[in-house]
């Protein structure tokens, strides 16, 4: 590798470098301030903010870092820095920052102050893993970043050790993770065997060769999808999700449901787009290489995912677990944006993710604040809360209505763009299945409203008033959900600017 290339590559991974430095600072600070650990969250938060600045700055850069191979006059690297990747990095970094704030407000996490340094260091590990996952264009790097993310999350899922379910969550997560990453690694090795390369771009050109062994390639692709599907918790790799989400500390649940899912989606989209798409039509549709019918597979997976998620959520009595199933369903909706294989669909996914971040983190925040007080996430314990704790209940109601996708909340806009993409691609039947799913989801979201508002408050119903800082955080999440429901032009413009995926 030439020196000039190395220098340029380093320029392209500044956010990752900053993040690593912050991680080291965090670990050292944890050693120095071992008597007073109050400073640790602030270091963690600052590190994230600084990283965020460099991430935003990356909109000006574009290119490949760490060239490994050259192919017809152009060289491809291990990493692709493009606006698509920067967008997802932003999603990850924003949600990480909110998670740090959430951790400060969480009783669960505050009870483990002596180990708080590890907690944030592991979160940093997750962020770093996600960052590489989002930009990786080489199968080896994809695998490594996936493992970095997974290993950090396994530990965090069982971090608090306050409940039996903690360890159960951690172990289940590990077992499922080990299997799926094993499958993925096997798939990667098959692809390498077929093509002799691990670079996505080179694989793209090589699999256009008509003599390629179709069966092996399809098999390998499905195996690789097992690894990615596990991260975005799509059917049939979603089984870990409810148990882990219910058992893990709520901050980690929220983080997994938004950031980890975002990184998984970024990887999936980049993988499909760079490996299996030969060109873009003028209307912005992606033309697939005819070796593997991703479209039908994705349609089936997407419908399965949302239907399973929604129908399982119907029977849940634990709100955290219900939100876990609902997040599976939302993964299904978002997959629809990929199913249509068009820029329109990609825009829809990006819009959806921005909104999903707000409403899902918001819902988890309310659940956490309520759990802090009543030490329960059972829906039955929410009876009458609407009358005694107005701010929290109204916010939760807005988040849930938004998750259902009713106007005038932002969730409606997310769904609207997905439907537009589907109709644009003439997939009306799929759109109708998706909207029937929305009706199903209405039932379980409204069930929470029912317990909060339609069941009368009794004398024992607690009155929960969040602290000022928590109330502000809550408003920061609620207000955009309402505003973007009415005025969503900026979201759309931003998403349109972020669909550049570096390709051939």
């Amino acid at each position: 590798m030439e020196l000039a290339n190395l220098y340029q590559s380093i320029n392209l991974i500044i956010p990752e470098i900053v993040l690593s430095i912050a991680l080291i600072v965090l670990v050292i600070a944890d050693l120095i301030f071992h008597t007073n650990k109050k400073i640790i969250p602030f270091i963690a938060g600052t590190g994230i903010l600084v990283t965020a600045i460099f991430v935003i700055n990356q909109f000006n850069y574009i290119g490949f870092a760490f060239s490994t191979a050259t192919h017809t006059a152009r060289s491809f690297g291990m990493l692709a820095v493009d606006s698509f990747g920067v967008f997802f990095k932003l999603i990850v970094i924003v949600s990480s920052f909110i998670i740090v704030l959430l951790s400060l407000a969480s009783d669960e996490i505050q009870k483990t102050t002596d180990r708080i340094g590890e907690y944030y260091a592991l979160i940093y590990g997750m962020i770093l893993g996600m960052f590489f996952m989002i930009t990786a264009t080489d199968l080896i790097l994809i695998y490594l970043s996936l493992e970095l993310l997974s290993l950090s999350s396994y530990v965090l899922a069982g971090f608090t050790k306050l409940r039996d379910r903690n360890s159960e969550a951690s172990l289940k997560y590990l077992l499922y993770g080990a299997v799926s990453s094993g499958l993925m690694l096997f798939g990667i090795s098959l692809v390498y065997g077929l093509t002799g390369s691990t670079n996505l771009y080179i694989i793209n050109t090589l699999i256009q060769n008509p003599h390629i062994n179709l069966f092996t390639l399809s098999f390998a692709t499905i195996l690789i999808f097992a690894g990615i599907g596990y991260k975005i918790s799509s059917a049939p790799f979603h089984f870990w999700t409810p148990d882990v989400y219910e058992g893990a500390p709520i901050t980690i649940t929220a983080f997994l449901s938004v950031a980890s899912k975002a990184a998984g989606f970024a990887l999936l989209i980049r993988f499909v787009k760079t490996v299996f798409v030969s060109y873009e039509t003028n209307e912005g549709f992606w033309s697939l290489i005819e070796v593997f019918d991703w479209q039908s597979i994705l349609v089936v997976i997407s419908i399965l995912t949302m239907t399973l998620g929604n129908f399982s959520a119907l029977w849940q009595n634990n709100l955290k677990r219900m939100l876990a199933y609902s997040s599976i369903a939302h993964a299904g909706y978002m997959l629809l944006g990929l199913v249509v294989l068009s820029n329109q669909g990609l825009i829809a996914i990006l819009i959806y993710f921005m909104i999903y971040l707000l409403m899902n983190l918001g819902a988890f925040l309310v659940v956490m604040l309520i759990a802090n007080k009543i030490n329960s996430e059972e829906i039955d314990d929410y009876n009458g809360l609407g009358f005694t704790s107005p701010l929290l209940s109204v916010s939760l109601a807005i988040f849930l209505i938004s998750l259902t996708g009713l106007p005038p909340t932002a969730g409606f806009i997310g769904k609207l763009y997905l439907f537009i993409a589907l109709v644009d691609a003439k997939m009306i039947a799929v759109a109708i299945i998706a909207l029937l799913n929305s009706v199903v989801s209405l039932y379980y979201y409204v069930r929470v409203l029912k317990h909060m508002y339609l069941v009368k408050a009794t004398a024992s119903t607690p009155s929960i008033i969040p602290s000022t800082s928590n109330a502000i955080l809550l408003l920061v999440l609620v207000v955009p959900v309402l505003i973007f429901g009415v005025y969503f032009q900026p979201l759309v413009e931003f998403a349109k600017d972020c669909i550049v995926i570096l390709g051939i």
């Binding site: 009713l406 106007p407 439907f419 537009i420 109709v423 759309v492």
Partner: protein, 508 residues
């Protein structure tokens, strides 16, 4: 295009009012009540100003206000009224302050949220009637589900939770189908003209060019959504539950205005957007409407609960509206529009009257009452007028609407069969049976329950203030309907002209 802000003031008065109400302290109950009534009255006054400045001779939309809302989708905030929507806007702004007044003493807990919900609901309903952009329409259409859910769910009767969720799921299932159809239309427009559009006036020109088969599906999606709202037989099952469990104010709003959103949607969207399909399916839909008329009436007859009886009578009355709409003659469409108002007034009055005695005795079963004419003579008279108006006695409002619908459907070229009229007319007779029978059982005879003498008292002043305006209009429409028919004539004619311009190969 000339801009006129009047309708925007009208639309935003209840929205701003509903937000302001939240800042009043929960303990100041009277202030909340007065404020709610004040805001609703201001909206009524604004709608009157609109009415007096409205030129009924023109068929196009007036008081138009358009602002670009979402550039990328070419969606605009685009509102305006024609005669049909103006009449329904007036109905909405007229009934809302009255319902707030009617709940003065019956709603005590969470009054603030109740007032908020009613005002927010009013804004949603006005938005539905005023929107000239189909996307804007959809937003309002869905947005009013949530306040209604709470109104039924929080302040309703025993089975309120079941009823409110049933209401929510039924209506949302229907409207989501409409959403897909709306998106499909907009995408179709973009393929045809190169521009994504949700502008209703433009879609009026574009949508009828869709091929027959697809138009059928689009029509179906819109129609299903509206038919659930109306509700048309056999999609009516949510209505009795919602009505019976809702508090009086909820029932009045539900019967008075909310159901009209469905029938309004049929007139405003289903007919002009998909004229060929509307003509094609008109006989089928009319059969359902007639079945609804008779079925609703027969089921009303056997009810033992007053509120349920009135609820089922709504199914019957709204069957007339649907029949009138799809008969597609100028008489029947005008009759349908006037019948929407009539039903709002007379059923609204009936629900209010049931609410009045329910508030005193907490009983709604007909068998409990009897002989109350001697105890509450004024009340009995009012109940008689409301019942007769609902039956369709000449001289009162119900007669005008039903007569026009029957006349129009008899002449209808689209239906081309007078059996519809014959069967529908039997509904009028049944109405007389079930309402007068109820009246007889409640009002005449001997006083069966000594309790009644202790609990039942005649109207107080507030109740009179609520009811008198409604009765004024019941008589006004009955005696001099031209005031209202003139208003809607041009608009109805224009819709029918639009339909027939696309369908004359259907209408030989």
């Amino acid at each position: 295009m000339e801009q006129n802000l009047l309708l925007t003031y009208l639309l935003f008065t209840p929205i701003i009012g509903s937000v302001l109400v939240l800042f009043i302290k929960q303990e100041q109950k009277n202030l909340i009540r007065w404020f709610g009534v004040l805001i609703a009255s201001v909206a009524f006054v604004i709608s009157l100003i609109v009415y007096f400045n409205f030129d009924a001779s023109k068929s196009e939309f007036q008081f138009i206000h358009q602002i670009v809302w979402i550039q990328s989708l070419n969606v605009s905030y685009y509102i305006g009224v024609d005669g049909i929507s103006l009449l329904l806007v007036l109905l909405t702004t007229f009934l809302t302050p009255l319902t707030l007044l009617s709940t003065w003493s019956s709603i005590e807990n969470n009054l603030k949220m109740f007032t908020f919900s009613i005002l927010f609901l009013e804004a949603g309903m006005l938005g539905v009637f005023l929107s000239l952009d189909i996307f804007l329409f959809y937003v309002f259409w869905e947005a009013m589900l949530i306040p209604m859910y709470f109104i039924i769910g929080i302040w309703g009767g025993e089975r309120r939770i079941y009823a409110s969720i049933k209401f929510f799921i039924f209506t949302m299932a229907g409207s989501l189908l409409m959403l897909v159809a709306i998106i499909w239309l907009a995408v179709y427009a973009s393929q045809l003209t190169g521009k994504f559009t949700t502008n209703l006036i433009e879609l009026y020109k574009i949508a009828p060019t869709i091929t027959q088969q697809i138009q059928g599906w689009m029509f179906g999606a819109f129609f299903l959504s509206f038919a659930i709202k109306v509700p048309l037989f056999p999609l009516h099952t949510w209505l009795p539950d919602a009505h019976v469990e809702a508090p009086t104010a909820g029932s009045v709003i539900l019967a008075g205005v909310l159901l009209k959103m469905g029938t309004y949607g049929l007139v405003r969207y289903c007919l002009p957007l998909f004229p060929q399909s509307a003509v094609q399916f008109a006989p089928l839909i009319s059969v359902l409407a007639v079945i609804g008329i008779i079925y609703g009436a027969l089921v009303s007859m056997v009810q033992t609960d007053m509120k349920k009886l009135v609820a089922y009578s709504s199914v019957s009355h709204l069957g007339f509206v649907v029949l009138g709409t799809f008969a597609m003659t100028i008489e029947s469409v005008q009759g349908a529009v006037i019948q929407m108002v009539n039903h709002g007034l007379s059923t609204g009055a009936l629900f209010l009257l049931v609410g009045v005695i329910y508030e005193r005795t907490h009983r709604r079963d007909i068998a409990y009452y009897g002989g109350i004419a001697k105890i509450v003579p004024v009340y009995s008279t009012a109940l008689l007028i409301a019942s007769l108006s609902s039956i369709g006695l000449p001289g009162l409002n119900g007669f005008i609407g039903e007569f026009l619908i029957l006349l129009g459907s008899f002449k209808s070229q689209v239906l081309d069969n007078w059996w519809y009229t014959v069967f529908a007319a039997s509904g009028v007779i049944f109405a007389a049976v079930y309402l007068l029978w109820m009246y007889q059982r409640i009002v005449f005879g001997v006083v069966k329950n000594p309790d009644l003498k202790n609990h039942l008292t005649d109207f107080n002043k507030r109740e009179l203030i609520v009811l008198i305006p409604i009765f004024v209009f019941i008589v006004w429409i009955g005696i001099y309907p031209s005031t209202f028919l003139n208003l809607t004539e041009a608009a109805s004619q224009s819709i029918l002209n639009h339909v027939s311009s696309f369908t004359f190969d259907f209408l030989k």
